[in-house]
Symmetry: C2
């Protein structure tokens, strides 16, 4: 067996602790699969005292992760600090510049600086691996980069944030409203005290930007992602979705269009019969549509110490075994700088819910607003009757342009009989 692969871990939080435990518990297996042992020679963490369930007695401690990344007796730096700038970025750049392989779970860093870092890694002939950055324990990056490498991908989409999926699943199962379920998720540890990163879709957008690059061979373009979160999804919408044959999921979706790369993260109506509709709770899933493979879906745990550690160590095993491929599937110089398609050019179907006064002529006014913007209605449902009071009216459209839909919604909002801004959720053809 060859000499050990010497690794340094920067950041010993949840994921770092999981990686340490995996490397200890499955050490023999890892060595057999990689053809050589993987040994933790150095770590860096703010808190030396915390019990991580692993003996770190023989390991060198660094207070400064960047200094560790420059140290001489290390083959791979594993960056598990997080954040797109600051120490994490400094650690990764220093490691690459000093000729070390890098494994990271840092989606924000990759979403913002992916191409730059990939270029740096290629210049030095080292690996930049980040399987753990997207969908935790699901080996989706390897699947896209290698397993489905022969395919032109037409579209890729997924449930990329377990917190949002847990909240939406629980809202559906219990009929409770968003704020109540969010509070419960926070108490259970499924949502952060400041949940905005998850529920406003930023986390999913980071992951989507990475997936898009791998799927289409384009430069990572986080700024090109159109993002809406799930704060405005109500119990009423979930109920109507069920009635119409849909479930509401926060999806990240990317495809190549005539207007450029369309990347969007927002709540979607997905048909109950589609495989992704059945992905519930904290589970993640990604679907890739290849021109030869057809629809391939990978489902599993998208977060947590152990699934993420599984992905981190898979990358280390690849490095140990000498299996190297460009992080984004192609050399950084070969990634296309495609323009981002603006959301106004999106074309698709829409669900719209209005609260209206239940009196004659309201439906006619709404229908006229849609007609005036050339939006073709598929169906309209008024639930219940309460003459002179507020009732919900729901409509769905045939495929239409987002710009036209938005103009129609402005017209509808201006109607005196419409009581609050319409709620719009896009319907996905999956």
């Amino acid at each position: 067996m060859k000499s050990p692969l010497r690794i340094a871990i920067a950041g010993l939080g949840t994921v770092g602790g999981g990686a340490l435990r995996l490397l200890q518990r499955n050490a023999d297996l890892v060595a057999r699969r990689g053809g050589r042992p993987i040994v933790v020679t150095a770590v860096s963490s703010r808190d030396r005292k915390r019990d991580r369930g692993v003996d770190l007695g023989t390991v060198r401690w660094f207070d400064d992760a960047v200094a560790m990344a420059a140290a001489s007796d290390i083959d791979v730096v594993v960056e598990l600090i997080g954040g797109s700038e600051g120490i994490a970025a400094g650690t990764v750049r220093t490691a690459l510049k000093s000729g070390k392989h890098v494994v990271t779970a840092n989606k924000a860093l990759l979403a913002h600086h992916g191409v730059e870092l990939a270029r740096l890694a290629e210049e030095r002939g080292v690996a930049l691996c980040f399987e753990a950055a997207v969908a935790g324990g699901i080996p989706i990056l390897k699947a896209l980069r290698e397993g489905l490498a022969a395919n032109q991908v037409g579209r890729i989409y997924g449930i990329l944030n377990g917190t949002c999926n847990y909240i939406l699943s629980t809202m559906r199962e219990t009929g409770r409203d968003f704020q109540e379920v969010l509070g419960e998720a926070q108490r259970l540890g499924y949502a952060e005290a400041d949940p905005s990163f998850d529920i406003d879709g930023i986390d999913a957008a980071h992951k989507l930007a990475i997936l898009t690059s791998l799927a289409f061979g384009t430069e990572v373009d986080f700024k090109g992602v159109n993002v809406e979160g799930i704060r405005h999804v109500s119990a009423l919408d979930i109920d109507f979705a069920d009635e119409l044959g849909y479930r509401i999921k926060l999806l990240g979706i990317a495809r190549l269009t005539d207007h450029g790369v369309e990347q969007r993260v927002h709540p979607c109506m997905v048909p109950k019969g589609s495989p992704i509709a059945h992905v519930e709770g904290v589970f993640n899933a990604v679907v890739a549509e290849g021109d030869f493979s057809g629809r391939v879906m990978l489902e599993g745990r998208g977060a947590g110490a152990e699934p993420t550690a599984s992905a981190v160590v898979a990358d280390l095993i690849d490095i140990a075994a000498g299996r190297q491929s460009p992080g984004f599937g192609l050399p950084a110089s070969a990634l296309a700088a495609s323009p981002a398609a603006p959301m106004s050019r999106h074309r698709g179907a829409y669900y719209v819910r209005l609260m209206v006064y239940d009196r004659p002529g309201v439906i006619a006014d709404v229908a006229a607003a849609l007609r005036d913007e050339q939006v073709s209605m598929e169906q309209m449902i008024q639930r219940g009757r309460a003459p002179g009071e507020a009732v919900p009216v729901v409509l769905t459209t045939h495929d239409t342009d987002e710009a036209a839909m938005r103009r129609a919604l402005d017209r509808i909002t201006a109607l005196q009989t419409v009581l609050e801004p319409p709620r719009m959720i896009r319907v996905e053809d999956l």
Copy 2:
């Protein structure tokens, strides 16, 4: 860009034609992903005249695939002939012995001779790749071998035969019986004229034997697979399954037990809430349970020219890019020769359906037979009442030993009030 990878394709049937079309249509993409062009320099097929939608004018034709495998100007032999012996085996052995990489979709060959061929490949320092042999377009072998390489796999299971899944899905949707749906599947081309290979579980068993080796690091042991097909699944059982909260699927399942490697292919009752219950029609799916990753499921098209070609060319891209790993995840010499666990040692829950005379004392007799073999009943349902006539009675058990269950079934079969041999379907805890 490096010099082209020169490949020879043995067998230009459905899959061979698909591979040719893929290599032509996605040639640029394939070259970029693999870092060099992949060029078909030779082919071998019985039928030179058939139109495969691809110009083969400049390609060398061999009548003898084995002779082609020995030719000098070829880097990789792609074996798409099929069958565990004969020309396919000769072609693969000759290619490996003459120092060529081999890519094959031949599950029967791998199931019967996998270890021998892997050893041969290692001796010559060439790759033996067979992603296409299991679950077509789903990159499950790469996921197990590399993506989940850091995990001890506790159990692996899957829907590995699209024909069976189509038949069972259609029986459930239409309420029709096995023979009728099989006939329809044959007319639609989803089942062969001689369907026994599929519906008796042999095809799934070949694939399971390969998956087991990759998941557990054991030698491929096709003879160790316990196989039952779907001929005996009736519309009545599918109906009862629904009532009890299950769907019936033909699964291949493997796990390590105290008695050795348990491998089995048979119809299963799977809980409706489990992800694999929703995999319908011709789709395949494989679930791996890793100690760190948790449950990971991959779903997609398990057969057909295009999905299989996607897998074949992914292997070729790996070879072109110089990414090599042992076919079964470990060197052949490191694969464990674990004993096969006998089916009699299986432990699990059972569904049993009886046809009995509806008269007093029948249920007591059945319950006594179970008690005498220490089988603990979970529930019993008699459907309908028809005093003095035949009615179905269904029971489910708690976890019990297969040997005890079989003895209990023998006792039940011997009861005078039981009209036909009991139908037993194992209930899986997924």
